[in-house]
Each structure stands twice: as structure tokens, then as C-alpha cells.
């Protein structure tokens, strides 16, 4: 009994180390102007909590616009990358064709091209295509995901050949097999890819930073960095803005945490 209580105290102390910085942020963003943000000893509880700083962050930068941008990026990128991954994974898993190994290694090689190395040439390519500073320039380079393709390939490969061949001899078009046999069977994997995609697009920073000059197209993470860089931003309003930017992704994670954590485990095993 005592051992178990000790275990919970240890687990809680560690949890506090992981959540603490966010709690400090939350408390700073809610404190009234006459309460110190920093003090010895720390004064964590806002007295009383106020929304002044949320309002200030909301107007100091085009906050709603950035949130909308991020929603658009997620809404376009996540379905598109899942579809591209699934389309590419199906023949890799269930068809024999010349060049299959070449395709496989080409996809694999993308995992070994670090972001910093690709940044410059990709920026030049995107500029040459006339896509610099556009939504398309942010979106298109992010649609090829080796992680997505390999996870789906593994899922599709687990579907028995006989099921696919039966559908084929019944005269099913390949596209119909893909749609009516493959995709429904891969639903859990698709959900995992959707959640991971949402998290990564919502948090995306480096590529948008490079490709966007016009701040009107910023996703929210870039908007927060922009807010942090404006001299004279109150520490309370920066805290409030940062907390708001975190809410969607934290809520989605908490609601779907079982899928995220199980999915991670599945990906490691694969």
C-alpha cells in the first residue's frame, strides 16, 4: 500500500515536470495587470483570472486569420497526404510490376534527406514554379510522406491476397477494389495518419517560415513566433496567445490519445 502511494507520488512529480511549463504559461496569460508575472516565491494563482490578455493577443497580430490559415492548411494537407500515401501504398503492397523496388527505395530515400539540407534547393524550385509565398507552396512539398506510405503498405499487405484476387476475378476495376476493399480495411491506420497529420501540420514552422514572405498566409505557430518577436509585446499577452494556439491540438490529442499512443506503438513495431 505504502509502495503504491510512493509510486503515485513519483508519477505525479514527473507529470508536473512535463505539464508545469504549460501551467506557468496558462497562469501568466490569465493574471491581471497588477499581479507580478515573476516573483520569488512564484505566485501561480491568478487573482482574479482575466481575459484582457487574450483580447490583446487577438488584436496585436491577425490572430483569427492565422487560426483560419492553420485550419485551411490542415483541411487541405491532411486528406491530400493520406490519399497520396494510400494510392502509392496499394500497388506496393498488392501488385507486381517492374520498378517496384526502385519506387520503394525512392520513397525510403526521402527519410534520409534532412529538412535543413532540402530547405534551400526546395525554396528555389518552389520559387521557379511561381509558388513562393502561396498556400500551394506551403502545401505541395509536404504531401509526400514516407511514414504514411510505409504504414499503409504494411496494412494493405496484411489483407489476404485471395480477397483481392476474388474481387479481381469478379471483374472489379482496380479503383473499385482500392475504394471498397482496401480503404475500409485500413480504417484504423487511416485514422492514425489523420491524427498524426493534424498534429504535424498544426505545429509546422520551418518550411512555412522559409516559403512565406507575406505574413497574411502564416500558420498559427509562425504567428506566435511573430508575436514573440514584436518588441513591446506584454509577457502576459504572449502567454495568452501561445495557450490559445495550443488548444486545438491538445484537445484533439486528449480526445484521441488512445489512438495516438497505440498508433505510435504500431509504427515502431512495423
Amino acid at each position: 500500500m505504502l509502495r503504491r502511494a510512493g509510486m503515485y507520488i513519483l508519477l505525479t512529480a514527473i507529470a508536473l515536470a512535463f505539464v508545469g511549463p504549460f501551467l506557468i504559461l496558462l497562469s501568466s496569460g490569465l493574471k491581471p495587470a497588477d499581479q507580478a508575472v515573476f516573483s520569488f516565491p512564484p505566485d501561480i494563482i491568478p487573482r482574479p483570472p482575466v481575459l484582457t490578455w487574450v483580447k490583446e493577443a487577438w488584436t496585436a497580430i491577425p490572430f483569427p486569420r492565422y487560426l483560419l490559415n492553420s485550419v485551411i492548411y490542415v483541411g487541405l494537407m491532411v486528406p491530400a497526404y493520406v490519399v497520396v500515401s494510400a494510392l502509392c501504398a496499394y500497388p506496393l503492397a498488392q501488385m507486381r510490376f517492374r520498378g517496384r523496388n526502385v519506387l520503394f527505395f525512392a520513397i525510403l530515400s526521402t527519410m534520409f534527406l534532412p529538412a535543413e539540407v532540402m530547405l534551400i534547393p526546395r525554396f528555389l524550385v518552389v520559387s521557379q514554379l511561381g509558388l513562393a509565398d502561396t498556400f500551394a507552396g506551403v502545401i505541395l512539398p509536404g504531401l509526400l510522406s514516407a511514414f504514411g506510405i510505409f504504414l499503409l503498405r504494411q496494412t494493405f499487405a496484411a489483407i489476404p491476397r485471395e480477397v483481392v484476387d476474388a474481387a479481381r476475378t469478379d471483374g472489379c476495376h482496380e479503383l473499385r477494389i482500392f475504394w471498397h476493399v482496401m480503404l475500409p480495411a485500413a480504417r484504423p491506420t487511416l485514422a492514425i495518419l489523420g491524427i498524426f497529420g493534424f498534429i504535424s501540420v498544426w505545429n509546422s514552422f520551418l518550411w512555412p517560415l522559409v516559403v512565406l514572405k507575406d505574413s497574411a498566409n502564416y500558420p498559427i505557430a509562425l504567428g506566435i513566433a511573430y508575436l514573440a518577436g514584436i518588441t513591446g509585446t506584454d509577457v502576459r499577452s504572449l502567454a495568452a496567445g501561445t495557450i490559445i494556439s495550443m488548444i486545438p491540438v491538445v484537445v484533439v490529442f486528449m480526445l484521441l490519445q488512445r489512438h495516438v499512443l497505440e498508433g505510435m506503438r504500431g509504427a515502431v513495431k512495423g
Binding site: 513519483l10 508519477l11 514527473i14 507529470a15 515536470a17 512535463f18 511549463p21 504549460f22 506557468i24 504559461l25 515573476f38 520569488f40 512564484p42 490519399v83 497520396v84 494510392l87 500497388p91 507486381r96 510490376f97 519506387l103 520513397i107 526521402t110 534520409f112 534527406l113 529538412a115 535543413e116 539540407v117 532540402m118 530547405l119 534551400i120 534547393p121 525554396f123 528555389l124 524550385v125 514554379l129 505541395l140 512539398p141 504531401l143 509526400l144 479481381r168 476495376h173 482496380e174 479503383l175 505545429n203 514552422f205 522559409v210 506566435i224 513566433a225 514573440a228 504572449l238 502567454a239 501561445t242 495550443m246 491538445v250 490519445q257 495516438v260 499512443l261 505510435m264 506503438r265 515502431v268
Partner: protein, 294 residues
């Protein structure tokens, strides 16, 4: 081909399916990769036409003090993040692998920084590191510090502070890698060891660690690639300063390309970074393989 003649599949069907991925690969990976190699031999500032400089960019690196500073700092990131991402998460995984009510909630809380943006994490830690912040209060209260430190403005402390933040953000991810591994170890092994009188440390040392070796190898590889790519925390928290104390290779590449528009030089450094990462991944593969055989 065996499947020709079946309705619905022609020889080109598989290629049609993979066409979107192939086009994206060609335009956003293959073409830029070739461009990167070309650029490394050019002097190019985006405005004036590129000039061929041969090995000029590479010889310039040899004499560039900031390049060597950035290499050293990247190496310090790599070494500093090792205990945080390879060792500590294994202990965390053992901790959250216990069958206790509510253990899933703890796993979720430990994973929370992983799903949060690095920008938000960087901002949050600036509050922790503040001169009058929680960290200074704790350290001065227990007597480890006489004077509060401005961690991010101190050329000694800024780099360890960023390593701590980067490590803290990703620990949950590595914990889950290890958790996947731990759940493949049969519980019977631990029971048998307990019967033989082995304590928790002995069990960790002689059962968990040896059986987890493949997962540790994965964690080391991912850690090295992660550490070499640290960027956002630096951008948000220090901008490479103070006095280049947190200038990593990745940050130097970005800054050379997009603040000073030295596209050729930055690309050449990019190739060096790329070669280093491939080399490290390969080295680790060789070492971990050797260990499994031994």
C-alpha cells in the same frame, strides 16, 4: 505479367496509382536534391546570376570560424541530448509499463509536449528560465545557486538550457518507442528473476537492457538525427546567441541562406550536414549490429 488479361488491370495500372507520389518525389525531392549538389559549387545570392566557384565553398568552410563553432555546438547537442532521449525515456517507460489504475493518464501527460509545437514549448520555457522564474527560485531556495542566472543570455548556460528544452519536448516520444519494446518481454522472465532474489536494479541491468538492445539502437539513431536537426528552439529562444553560443550547423545553414542570401555556401554546408547524418546512422547501424552478434 500474370495479372494481364484480368479485367480492370492493365500494365500501367500500378504506375497510375503511384503517379501522384512519383510526381511529388520528382519535383520536391529529386529535383531539389540535384539542385543542392549544383548549388554547392556556385556562388549565388538569388539576385545576381550564379557564378561557378569550384570547391570554393568547401575550402571556405575550413577557414570559417563560425562554421567550426556551429559544428562544435551541434556535437554538444548530440552528446547532451543522449542521456535525455536514450537513457531517461527507458526509465520512464519502465515506470509507465506497470499495471496501475490511471497509468494511461500519466503516459498521456508525459507525451503532451510531443504534440505541442516547438514554438509554444520555447515560449513556455522562457517563462521557466526567467531571472525571476520558477527554475531560479527552486535552485536558489535549495541552495544550489547563490544568484539567479539569466540562462538564455549566458554564453555558458544557453546551450545546456536549449538541450534541456529539446530533450524535454521529445522524451515522451522515445518513452513510447521503449514501451513498445517492453511489452514484448515476457513477464515470466521477471517473475523467475524475482524468485531468484534479483532486485529491481539487477532486473533492469540483466533483463530489460539486453532485451531492449534493438529498441535502444533505434532510439540512438533517431536521437542523432533529431539532435542534428534542432532549429526551432534556437530560432525562438536565442537566435543562435549569445555570441554564437547556440549556433548549430542547422541554424547556421538557415541563417546563411535566408538572412545573408549565400545560397551556394549554405548548400555546401547542407551537404556536409547530410553526409554527417548518413555517416552517423551508418556507424550506429554497424555498432549495434556488432553488439547483437557479440
Amino acid at each position: 505479367m500474370a495479372t494481364t488479361g484480368l479485367p480492370g488491370q492493365r500494365w500501367y495500372t500500378p504506375y497510375l496509382f503511384s503517379l501522384p507520389a512519383l510526381v511529388l518525389f520528382g519535383v520536391f525531392f529529386a529535383w531539389p536534391a540535384v539542385t543542392a549538389i549544383q548549388l554547392s559549387f556556385l556562388k549565388y545570392d538569388v539576385v545576381s546570376p550564379p557564378v561557378f566557384v569550384g570547391m570554393g565553398n568547401f575550402t571556405r568552410m575550413l577557414g570559417d570560424e563560425r562554421f567550426w563553432t556551429s559544428m562544435l555546438n551541434s556535437a554538444l547537442f548530440l552528446v547532451g541530448m543522449f542521456p535525455l532521449l536514450v537513457v531517461v525515456p527507458l526509465l520512464l517507460a519502465v515506470l509507465v509499463n506497470q499495471k496501475l489504475p490511471g497509468i494511461r493518464t500519466f503516459r498521456m501527460l508525459y507525451y503532451l509536449p510531443v504534440v505541442t509545437s516547438m514554438v509554444a514549448v520555447g515560449v513556455a520555457w522562457e517563462y521557466v528560465f526567467h531571472q525571476q522564474g520558477v527554475l531560479n527560485w527552486m535552485l536558489t531556495t535549495v541552495g544550489l545557486l547563490d544568484q539567479p542566472i539569466q540562462y538564455l543570455l549566458d554564453s555558458f548556460w544557453a546551450l545546456p538550457a536549449l538541450v534541456l528544452v529539446e530533450g524535454w519536448k521529445s522524451m515522451g516520444f522515445y518513452m513510447m518507442i521503449y514501451l513498445a519494446g517492453l511489452q514484448t518481454i515476457p513477464a515470466g522472465l521477471y517473475e523467475a528473476a524475482k524468485v531468484d532474489g534479483a532486485g529491481p536494479w539487477v532486473r533492469l541491468r540483466h533483463i530489460t537492457v539486453p532485451l531492449m538492445m534493438p529498441y535502444i539502437a533505434v532510439a540512438i539513431t533517431v536521437e542523432m538525427l533529431d539532435a542534428m536537426q534542432s532549429f526551432t528552439s534556437i530560432y525562438v529562444m536565442t537566435g543562435g546567441g549569445p555570441q554564437d553560443a547556440t549556433l548549430t550547423l542547422g541554424y547556421y545553414i538557415w541563417s546563411s541562406a535566408f538572412q545573408r542570401y549565400e545560397m551556394g555556401y549554405a548548400s555546401a554546408m547542407g551537404l556536409v550536414l547530410w553526409a554527417l547524418m548518413i555517416g552517423l546512422a551508418f556507424l550506429n547501424h554497424r555498432i549495434s549490429k556488432g553488439r547483437v552478434v557479440a
